[in-house]
């Protein structure tokens, strides 16, 4: 049963196996779905999908197969574009909703609204904002979005009022998709690759070496002789330099996750974190606030953190050309006699392994992003995604 649903799931990238499929058939046989599509949706999801990251794919596959059953309406991409007006939404909330609702308040009949909605979907062929008939924004029909009418069908857009009957195409689980965002877990898994075991460290011998102990004891005529050894420790030292503020503000949650992951995976020999604004100059900041005064001299960092530190720089490499090339290009602090580019080159000369992780790197060569292109010449630059981070860790672990 539902062979095409199985295929649709596969197509959408949900990893379904035959055994789960048979379990679903068993559930159907036992009547667990009670002949209801909604029940079927939940039952099948609980059996076939094992991670909230796949819920979105499941939703899409489900829609592919059962769309015609759900409602005979399909909101075209074109229409969703007409309705995409987030700014107006916020504005309207404050200003007009009371007015609009006082003008026309009546009991809404759900079926009636739905019927009208379908009719308009069929007829509408252009964008409408602020009317009383078509599906559009800022209007007062019972459908569309950013309208003042409470309790109708909302088409796309962010949830303003909670009271819309149905949210068509909202894709509630989109945020869980793992190809979209990096989570702390993924950071930690990637960071785990930074491992280099070594027993040649100058730390005390604290671990019991069982084999040698047995060996020596036997040689000693059965009289116990204990041998201690140094524990196997990760010898990787990590220097994390993060761009903070300005154009990086949208990514602060992401950087936060990265920071947490680095500090949670406490298997490094040493971890140092500093912050910078746009580019690295004579000082690196101790906190993400990047306040002048609360900083460390970059020279001091060079002197005290030796060349074995593996350096991860996180930044969007978005800056004006003079911030990179001019010797007075640092508009919020001292330059220290060098341009940003020269500081970066000094950093490269000092440390053996450096990667630049960029949360919004252009997927193709982008000569119009001048600074990004220039920095790519200095350091290997990778996008801050799961794949990018893994590749970056590999570069950091390469032997000289």
């Amino acid at each position: 049963m539902f062979q095409n649903f199985f295929n649709a799931l596969k197509n959408r990238g949900v990893n379904v196996s035959l055994s789960e499929w048979l379990t679903l058939q068993q559930a159907l046989d036992e009547g667990l779905c009670e002949s209801s599509l909604t029940r079927f949706y939940h039952v099948a999801r609980s059996i076939l999908v094992h991670s909230e990251a796949d819920f979105d794919k499941y939703d899409l596959a489900f829609e592919d197969c059962f769309k015609s059953l759900k409602m005979e309406t399909e909101v075209s991409a074109q229409m969703l574009r007409w309705l995409d007006k987030p700014d107006e939404n916020a504005m309207l909330h404050e200003k007009d909703k009371e007015y609009l609702n006082s003008v026309e308040s009546f009991e809404i009949d759900k079926d009636d609204v739905e019927k009208q909605f379908k009719q308009r979907l069929k007829d509408q062929d252009s964008e409408h904002n602020g009317g009383a008939y078509w599906i559009g924004t800022m209007g007062k029909t019972s459908f569309g979005n950013t309208g003042g009418n409470i309790g109708g069908i909302r088409v796309g857009g962010a949830t303003g009022y909670q009271s819309a009957f149905q949210v068509i195409g909202a894709r509630r689980y989109r945020d869980f998709r793992d190809d979209r965002v990096l989570t702390g877990r993924q950071f930690m898994t990637a960071l785990r690759r930074l491992r280099q075991f070594s027993t040649k460290l100058d730390i005390p011998k604290t671990e019991l070496d069982i084999n040698s102990t047995v060996d020596r004891t036997c040689n000693n005529g059965g009289c116990l002789e204990i041998v201690m050894d140094r524990p196997r420790k990760n010898s990787v030292k990590l220097l994390l330099l993060m761009d903070s503020g300005g154009t990086m503000i949208p990514y602060c949650q992401l950087l936060n996750e990265l920071f947490q992951s680095v500090h949670k995976s406490n298997h490094y020999r040493e971890v140092k974190t500093y912050y910078f604004h746009n580019c690295i100059y004579s000082h690196v900041y101790n906190t993400p606030a990047c306040e002048n005064g609360d900083w460390t001299e970059t020279e001091w960092m060079f002197r005290n953190l030796d060349k074995d530190f593996k350096v991860i720089i996180v930044g969007d490499a978005a800056m004006a050309p003079e911030e990179l090339y001019a010797r007075d290009g640092n508009y919020r602090g001292p330059n220290g006699g060098y341009s940003g580019q020269e500081w970066l080159l000094r950093l490269r000369r000092k440390y053996r392994r450096v990667v630049w992780m960029n949360p919004k790197m252009s997927p193709t060569p982008a000569p119009w992003r001048e600074a990004e292109t220039a920095i790519k010449e200095i350091f290997p630059m990778l996008p801050l995604t799961v794949a990018g981070l893994n590749a970056g860790m590999e570069i950091l672990m390469q032997r000289q």
Partner: protein, 269 residues
């Protein structure tokens, strides 16, 4: 008539969650529950046990827990001691076999609910080591050559905070449910279950502040259901005037646990 789980007096479950529990019971498969901390994953098992009138066994997983711990333990040290002092019954190994929680659930005379709490805390391989036991509901004690077989298949509920990915083979055998963060309506219901005669005004204001704090982007540890409940409790006991909650933010430490978050919240007031 099939046994069915319903919301109890103390636990409000969404329709979808009840559905998943009942599917798991009907198909006799373990139910894997994921969700934000504080959304009542552990409490679900209690509620299921209570609603079905069954005994609840809890196996708390720690980072050092091994799969074997849940089956049985052979207390060799005790036997060695006993042997040295010539205690009676040293030759009877069965005396030194102690069943773990899973073993206990199998041996129980009636069906029980078994909660394997926070399975992701354990080693990465841990779930794989339990595949056979959870599938076949039996295991073999080498020392006494005895097979422990479940007299009644326990209802197994497993919770995970997603700290580690669980292995695929394990996931395929489970019914999966993700507890979503409750929306305002469900949250109101949940709070009312805990405080049946809460003042409407207090509830309304507290919820408003709660969702406001959750909405602040920079708050690292978002407060969850259990924190809201603690806060409402504190507010009630403290007899705080309800209309100034948002300005004064009394007992803020109950919902916001991190220093930097406290700063952030105060900043936004």
């Amino acid at each position: 008539m099939r046994e069915e789980f319903r919301s109890t007096g103390e636990y409000v479950a969404s329709e979808a969650l009840m559905g998943s529990v009942n599917v798991a019971i009907a198909l006799q498969k373990p139910l894997l529950i994921k969700g934000e901390p504080g959304t009542g994953k552990t409490m679900l098992a209690e509620a299921v046990a209570k609603s079905l009138g069954k005994k609840l066994l809890i196996w708390n997983i720690k980072s050092t827990t091994k799969a074997q711990d849940g089956l049985y333990m052979y207390d060799t040290i005790q036997r060695l001691y006993d042997g040295q002092f010539g205690e009676e019954g040293v030759d009877d190994i069965a005396r030194y076999i102690k069943l773990g929680k899973l073993g206990e659930a199998f041996e129980s005379e009636e069906q029980v609910v078994l909660l394997i709490d926070e399975i992701d805390k354990a080693d990465l391989e841990f779930p794989n080591d339990l595949l056979w036991e959870l599938d076949q509901m039996e295991f073999y004690i080498h020392e006494t050559k005895r097979t422990v077989k479940a007299k009644h298949r326990p209802i197994v509920i497993i919770t995970s905070n997603a700290e580690k990915e669980l292995p695929d083979a394990f996931l395929r055998r489970c019914i999966f449910h993700y507890i979503e963060f409750p929306d305002a309506a469900l949250m109101e219901e949940i709070v009312k279950v805990h405080f049946p005669d809460i003042e409407e005004n207090l509830l309304k204001n507290a919820m408003e502040v709660f969702y406001w704090i959750r909405g602040i982007r920079d708050v690292r540890k978002k407060p969850s259901t259990s924190e809201l409940i603690d806060w409402v409790n504190a507010l009630q006991m403290g007899g705080i005037p309800t209309d100034t909650l948002k300005e004064k933010l009394p007992f803020l430490g109950v919902i916001v646990k991190k220093d930097e978050d406290l700063e952030t919240v105060k900043h936004y007031v």
